[in-house]
Amino acid sequence: MNRVPAIEIRGLRKSFGRLEVLRGIDLSVETGEVVCVIGPSGSGKSTLLRCVNLLEQPSGGTVHVSGVEVTDPDCDIDAVRRRIGMVFQQFNLFGHLTVRENLTIAQRRVLRRSRAEAARIATANLDRVGLADKADAYPAQLSGGQQQRVAIARALAMDPALMLFDEPTSALDPELVGEVLAVMRSLAADGMTMLVVTHEMSFAREVASRVVFMDGGTVVESGPPAELFGAPSQARTREFLHRVLEPTRVSEAEIGAHHSTGA
């Protein structure tokens, strides 16, 4: 078996101008693991994810994917990206192409598969996300949930070794979140290696093999979901979970508001 971690991140730093978004991240994801990254907005979760397939160029540190250093300037990044599926918050389906063409274009142009083979793999993956009947529709004709499932199928059609999810349900109406999470859950059950940035705490709790809590560009705490959600060791983690999981119990004193007593 492959002993090399699927993703290995060492001392990763990223700055946008003077703003330091990532301040030295160490994180590794083993093959078959599902790692969920949680944390407040602006904590650097998405930037971390985008550094893995070099959509953002790191300012320092190294990232290895399946043993290949993607931060090496001479690395053939297109070849590495073929093995990394990515799912975006805004779906990013190709609006001028049908659902089937969305799934086949990279297979044909990048993997040089034949038209028939690409179509067969497209159909199989659409079937996997329950949208085989939508192959001839255009993205604009689908609901947000359906679009995101197509986006997942599009990534899967490239036979990726691992999948990155960047807040895949954050742009969806609440009633459409479930269908996308269901697809992701079945992927995890099939043994896919997944790095998921999410705000869906119940998904992280049930599906993740490990949960990473980030804040201020650093990893504050990480561990199995039962541990991190059940007994967080850091005060910052406890505060975040309290605010996310029990938003109606956040007291006025906590946020510095003063109850007016008429005085």
């Binding site: 297109d78 990206r81 990515m86 975006f88 805004q90 389906l93 190709f94 990279a106 142009r109 604009a140």
Partner: protein, 286 residues
């Protein structure tokens, strides 16, 4: 017009501010009266013009059927055909050059950006006629041993295309930038190289966005082909405006100008309808 069930007068209590003018008429009645007066003035003006005009003279000058008939079929088979040819050739030339300039303008290599910017600023600032003179006479004078292939066709294509390219470069650049950044990111994360992602994903969507402005550019070019006469067109390369001008001289009658005008409209009106339809469709899709 005013039915028996006209609006009852507004109760005095409804208006908070005291109305300064006659309160007899309701707001609706006043509006209706104003509109009626508008129609009346228009009809009076129309009747005045119709009475003052010398219809016989007008028809004789602008609508002489025999003069119009003598222009056909050459007006269509030669003049209109050449006008359309010049338009399409200059458009094709301008589109290709414009696309190259647009891509240069978005390039990560600064000298490409400088060149494209300078080109666009230069050719947007020059009159099309001056460029045409330069291509038709200036360049041949400077380089007598070289010539633009295609004779007048080639000169018009380059002369009008150079200017059109500057405008289309800006349009295409805007179209490319209007494609969301996520499209390129999605394509790159599937392993496509940057050029491949541009060709397969970004440019098709950019062109879709700029079809209405590009169609407008064709309309402008159709009219600009009338400048081709300065290159000294012959009987076989003549276009509509020059053809009509010649007919005006030989027949000493302005009817040919009317005929030429109508023939231009035959081309441009359907195109502007097309633009409107495309814009409506684009608005629906967004």
């Amino acid at each position: 017009m005013a039915g028996p069930d006209t609006l009852p007068e507004r109760p005095a209590s409804a208006g908070a501010a005291p109305a300064p003018v006659r309160r007899r008429l309701g707001r609706r009645q006043r509006q209706r009266l104003a509109r009626l007066a508008g129609y009346l003035v228009f009809l009076l003006l129309l009747a005045g013009v119709a009475a003052a005009a010398d219809w016989g003279r007008l028809a004789d000058a602008f609508f002489r059927l025999d003069v119009a008939r003598s222009m056909f079929p050459e007006a269509v088979t030669v003049a209109l055909r050449n006008t359309i040819c010049y338009t399409l050739l200059a458009f094709a030339f301008g589109l290709v050059l414009g696309l190259v300039l647009a891509l240069m303008r978005l390039s990560s290599v600064p000298p490409y950006r400088w060149f494209a910017t300078a080109y666009v600023e230069l050719f947007r600032g020059l009159p099309a006629l001056l460029v045409l003179f330069m291509v038709g006479y200036g360049v041949p004078l400077a380089f007598p041993d070289r010539e633009i292939p295609g004779g007048v066709y080639g000169s018009v294509t380059v002369g009008l295309g150079l200017t059109a390219a500057a405008y289309m470069a800006e349009t295409l650049r805007a179209g490319i930038q209007a494609v969301p950044k996520g499209q390129l990111e999605a394509a790159r994360s599937l392993g496509m190289s940057h050029p491949r992602a541009m060709v397969s994903i970004v440019l098709p969507q950019a062109f879709r966005i700029v079809i209405p402005p590009l169609t407008n550019e064709i309309i402008l070019l159709t009219k600009d082909t009338s400048l081709a006469y300065v290159l000294g067109v012959t009987a076989s390369t003549i276009e509509l405006t020059k053809y009509a001008g010649d007919a005006l001289n030989t027949r000493v009658n302005p009817t040919p100008l009317v005929v030429a005008g109508l023939l231009y409209l035959v081309v441009t009106l359907p195109l502007s309808q097309l633009v409107r339809w495309l814009e409506r469709r684009a608005a629906r899709e967004r």
